[in-house]
Symmetry: C3
Subunit: 343 residues, 3 copies
């Protein structure tokens, strides 16, 4: 793919300062720019790169005024960040010629129904009574058990395993090797010290526009449903235990774990490697810093939590500062004791 600066400026509704016939064949960060690449400058922290970048062109916001000579051709737009995003999406669309059709061998039960325009990759498996919508993409080596519903335009990447009775909405993405609807971890202790598995009869529901990361596991409910609400984004290697509910537009970063039956509110931001204990309620708009451990419900909306066990960020920071001075503190106490004893 190759475009001129002029073509790109036209696409973005921008104006050009410099040579508009330059050929562009890739996007780059401004600090990694090279001949033939186009970059953008939004955060002025990176302004110094503008004067040294080897990128052929840089998208900047229309009110930006360079303070030094710039070698690259500039494209002035209303909002450089969102213009660049548009460009990214454009390129993405051109690159991804949509896969459709059926590769062989693949397996589909007689009782399964699939919509139009779908892709079924080689070695994929669709079990009994599944209902697969239109334009769904099922990559190679995907497993879909029985009684599974998948909404229109959803993409299930290679190696993902969708177990019995799962319900997946429209426009979802399930990344490679994710496991959705595997049995929850429920065991009843017996008098002799062994454990008897508690049947897990529920399912998993992913509402529309949900994204599930690679190698993430979402267990089915004991009864009822484990639910990921509309628009929630779940990163890689995350554990979501049975009967958990994750609210609309909540974002969970990699390697976090949510224990059984906890309910996470809407528009929360949960950092990487966070742990949330079982049977808790987390209020809407809660922000939880990476590696925090949540051991109690959070009732007030919009708090920022930190540490393990987690406390409000402002309290955590105060204690932490003193923590790092603990040896000195101990010495001061010792000095006080000496002084007092010698009086």
């Amino acid at each position: 793919m190759e475009f001129t600066v002029k073509q790109i400026a036209a696409l973005l509704g921008g104006t050009v300062d410099g040579n508009d016939s330059l050929k562009i064949n890739q996007l780059s960060k401004i600090e990694e720019g090279k001949e033939g690449s186009i970059s953008f400058l939004s955060n002025l922290k990176y302004e110094h790169y503008l004067y040294t970048t080897a990128a052929s062109a840089v998208i900047v916001s229309k009110h930006f005024q360079p303070r030094q000579p710039v070698k690259a051709t500039l494209i002035f737009v209303d909002n450089s960040y969102s213009a660049f995003s548009t460009l990214l999406e454009q390129v993405n669309r051109l690159r991804n010629i949509e896969k459709t059709g059926i590769e062989q061998p693949s397996f589909i039960a007689d009782s399964a129904q699939v919509g139009d325009g779908i892709y079924r990759g080689a070695f994929s498996y669709i079990g009994e009574n599944c209902r697969i919508g239109n334009n769904v993409k099922i990559y190679p080596q995907v497993y879909i058990g029985k009684n599974v519903t998948v909404g229109d335009n959803t993409v299930i990447h290679s190696g993902a395993k969708i177990l019995d009775n799962t319900v997946i909405g429209q426009n979802c993405v399930v990344k490679p090797n994710a496991v959705i609807g595997s049995e929850g971890f429920g065991f009843a202790p017996q008098p002799d010290g062994t454990y008897r598995p508690i049947p897990q009869l529920g399912n998993v529901i992913l509402e529309d526009n949900v994204s599930i990361g690679a190698n993430t596991t979402i267990d089915c409910a004991t009864m009822g449903s484990t639910i990921i609400r509309q628009g929630a984004k779940i990163d890689n290697l995350i554990q979501v235990a049975h009967n958990v509910e994750i609210g609309r537009n909540t974002v969970v970063a990699a390697q976090a774990g949510i224990a059984g039956s906890s309910k996470i509110g809407e528009n929360c931001q949960i950092g990487g490697q966070v742990g949330v204990s079982g049977h808790l309620m987390i209020a809407n708009q809660t922000k939880i810093a990476a590696q925090a451990g949540i051991m109690k419900s959070i009732k007030q909306e919009g708090l920022s939590m930190f540490g393990a066990p987690a406390v409000e960020l402002k309290d955590a920071l105060r204690s932490q500062v003193v923590y790092q001075r603990l040896p000195e503190l101990e010495k001061r106490i010792h000095a006080l004791e000496n002084k007092l004893n010698n009086q």
Copy 2:
């Protein structure tokens, strides 16, 4: 599936108070009850739900006396929790018509032997010299390398990878995309800063009644065996490194990691995201709270550990309480110093 309350009461050996001809078609938690569902009340913390639940029927213990009018039909039994478990298992049995037979295409080496009544899903792979017992279920896209033994009635779910020389006992469950017997992480540092891989010649042994979670990894031993003892239950996304041993009936929650050569005792409970360093011994009946970091062997049985580095729970709680008052403590020291200096 649909049953009357009368039929269910007969199954459980209970007596009915209310309309015993009501139709039941699902199980539910008492707080999520709806028409046609049956629930149970065991923990009296949830008693208030009994008076508002929309469930058609609720199983209660025979000595329970409602303190308010109840709309649902009640079934009185000896032990409501265990009666409900029985019901769960009954339903589970009815729902899971056991899969048997061979789906094509699937791959099996000529030298492999398989027992009776087994299921081999499409795209599953069984390598040379494997010995697979009776009634084993091997779901689609499972990989079983060479010289692997699998005992009777074991279930290996879709996408699990069982590498060379692994020994799996009877009645085990390996959940989707788990990896058993991959090479341990062993490298010898070289003088030039590079690392040379140390051959990992051992294997993994899962004894009987072991459960391995989705996307969990259990590495083979350098020499000898990594061993998961009888009845141990290992949740999702757990790392068990080479030469680890996990004792009988020990339960490990999601995302915990056990480093190389550590030995965990029997009937331990290891919380989510716990880390155990290498070459340690953990005594029987140890309980380790979620996110704890175990850096030393634990010799006394039955301790509860907390924190990172982990200490006994009671000590941890004491230090933690003071930790949260650190800023105040520092002020008190400062006040003392002022006072003393001004004397």
Copy 3:
């Protein structure tokens, strides 16, 4: 396989003290020695096992002098540890008859090119325009998307997923169910609280001699490349986010996570369950203890870091010691206050 002690001593260039016609058929740790096994003694901490081991033979260093009678036959060599490694590698070579050839069914796009001497397992998938080198092993159920390059002698284990545009060097190992090149976790928040995915147009590059663990995920870059440099060893269940770079010969232990755009230096050692925040620089030779949380760049080379948030090990240990005495400290402050108030 069976060898005499004499044969092994000849292989290792060692001299024998004891019966050199004993038959050896396995390797063992000295504490797990049995008849027919050969062990080694390197770390003298384990010397007492030498006098009780049931191993038939033990490799020791030539200057070692037993202080008690030894039942096992001894083989004296220059360096017992490296001699034993040689033996391990020898046995490994004999055991692993190299797999080659093509198992069916397997899938390869017409436009893909593969070298000589390769193994393509059943149910493996190779997409359009791939370039696969010589002697590459692609195990069953591996997925390789389009435009992927794989260098000579690389091994990709069962179930690993290599997504579009990934570049893998020579002599790499990718373990089962690892996911390389899945889309990074990038979303632009919208005014209505939803998130719009940011196209991830970059790729992943694994340089030569890289090892990637089971169920590890390495996301593709937004633009440019996520890069794992030559000789780096990445363990199981690790998250490497988009645009991360991991330096040459750096070792990362299981379940660690590196957030987006962070650059890890060369010859670092990163412990298990460590978290590194996004957009940081970690200097060469940094050692990070297990479970630590790195929240700031580390500019000085060779530091040892500990704790969350991580500080230098020596500072961490000092604070930690006092932390465990916090309740006592508080009492001492209280005593001082009393004393002072009663003066």
